[in-house]
């Protein structure tokens, strides 16, 4: 069996002048949880649509489980599944009917439905219409639906968008356990840093249709050799002085000294602080770069700007300014 379950070569989707997906090359290993991180409109959904055979690429190729998405779409469809960004479950049906319907299409057994209802803790709700489900329950049911035929690859497009923090963490633990227990390769898109950081084995940052960075989240962070060390001491002046002798620039604010330094610089400062009297130091804190910082480094902007821009309609902002709201 091929070790790479997803393989794209110069995959491109062009709408007129706009390249929504621009020459993307990706190899995703069996059993990975792979995250595609990017702002709205970066090309995440377009890429997923092409990989799930719903959209024809305008250039390049993609293979899933060794099958070409354009030439052998039905073979690809047999080994994949996808859960989409919006809720796509039919709210008139009950949870059981919904799974039963899809089990019918894929020829899955009743036992599989039971198994999934239990795995996702939905057994108590199987006879309730989906209309009455909460967002988190609906998402769990949709992921369960995606697993009905034991796919090799599961695509999740923004699986936790709009869910509250607790529900989001619960969905993560479900994704982790199905990856562990069923060996499903998971390909997910997200614009939540935390999701990419905590859940994914490897992360790709996509911007303007291009992959601008790829690696484990640790690897991505290590690219930024920039840490902020905060030291809180009784006499900041002494520390400042020693730092100046070392040739390190620092800022003070009250009792707190802040130093910007490289990875190797941290131990130097740490040694310095250790040399001081114990009761002098109240706090020693190193802030390593976050995935947010990595994102800003590669795309030149903060992902949260994009998100809040989307949330506030221009008219609403006008309202804010005039003091209507």
């Amino acid at each position: 069996m091929n070790e790479h379950v997803i393989q794209t070569t110069n995959l491109t989707k062009q709408y007129g002048e706009l390249k929504a997906v621009d020459n993307i090359n990706l190899s995703i290993r069996r059993g990975e949880i792979f995250g595609l991180l990017g702002p709205n409109g970066a090309g995440k959904s377009t890429l997923i649509m092409m990989l799930t055979t719903l959209l024809k690429p305008s250039g390049g190729m993609a293979e899933i489980c060794g099958y070409d998405v354009v030439k052998e779409p039905n073979k690809v469809r047999k080994c994949i599944s996808a859960v989409f960004q919006d809720h796509t479950s039919d709210e008139w049906l009950t949870g059981w009917e919904y799974l039963h319907l899809h089990a019918g299409i894929y020829n899955a057994s009743e036992a599989r439905i039971e198994e999934l209802l239990k795995l996702f803790n939905l057994k108590d709700w199987e006879n309730t219409t989906i209309k009455q489900y909460s967002s988190g329950m609906r998402r769990r049911l949709e992921i369960a639906r995606g697993l009905i035929h034991c796919p090799e690859v599961l695509f999740l497009d923004e699986p936790t968008l709009g869910l509250d923090v607790q529900t989001r963490q619960m969905i993560w633990s479900y994704i982790e356990s199905l990856n562990r227990e069923e060996g499903v390769t998971v390909f997910l898109t997200t614009h939540y840093m935390e999701e990419a950081d905590k859940l994914c084995n490897r992360v790709a940052i996509i911007d303007g249709g291009k992959i601008v960075a790829l690696g484990t989240s640790e690897e991505l962070k290590s690219v930024l050799d920039h840490n902020i060390v905060t030291i809180k001491v009784k006499n900041p002046e002494t520390v400042m002085q020693i730092l100046q002798e070392l040739g390190v620039e620092s800022e003070t604010q009250g009792n707190t000294v802040q130093v910007h330094t490289t990875n190797s610089g941290i131990s130097e400062i740490y040694d310095l602080v250790r040399g001081m009297q114990n009761d002098d130091v109240e706090l020693f804190n190193v802030k390593k770069p976050t995935l947010d910082d990595v994102f800003i480094h590669y795309t030149g902007r903060d992902i949260r700007d994009e998100v809040s821009e989307h949330r506030h309609h221009p008219l609403m902002r006008k309202g804010f300014r005039r003091g209507f709201i």
Binding site: T52, I80, D86, D90, W92, L101, G104, I105, T129
Partner: protein, 256 residues
Amino acid sequence: MEISVSDLRAIRAVSYREVIRFLRAKSRIVSSIAIPLIWFCAFGLGLGSAFGVRHGSLEYAEFLAPGIVAMTALFASTLSGISIIVDKEFGIIKELLIAPVSRFSLVLGKLMGGMITSLLRAIMITILFCVILELHVGILDFLGVLLVISLIAIGFGGFAIAIATKMESLEGFGLIVELFVMPIFFLSGAFFPIERLPGWLSTAVLLNPLTYGVDGLRLFMLGTSSFSMLHSLGVLIGFDVAVMLLAAYFFERSGV
């Protein structure tokens, strides 16, 4: 065009879903009986007795009844189109499109579902008319009624699906449907005998597939008709095949 076992499963699953949706929406069941009854009372009983209209030995209400049954099937069949647009709007259709089944089987599933719900509605209406008008429809004739209703539902359901694949919004679809459905209904001979119409109107009526549906229903329900049974059924079957191919073609091409 090959149909595999998995396609048959998809047809069954998709049509099963349409039927459940119909049965869950109580308002739909109520309106599916109320609307034909309102038409029947206003025109058949109201207009018919006020002006003393008769057709041969038939009272106007009797003459109109098969037309109203045909209308029920026609209106119900447009729901297949609405159901596709709703599926598109909410992205539900993507769940079906990533399944390893042919696009044609999804169209057939929608059509089958639409046919079953049309049959459910039309059966209710037909039985109601039989009671109100004291019609005596034998078993074979009743099966004939069901056959004609199915043919109407498939033909116009396919037509609605073909249009729906091209439409983005429910509003737009509603407008297009009104544009087609009302003329199709009025020009079907549901309201008047088609023998003594002026030339242009007669042409329009003869080109309208629903005319043959109404005529077939009249034959099975009342024993009187303008065309022979084979003529009506032949035209309807021809229409159905043409429309199904058209719907499958559009559905295949729509990226969704």
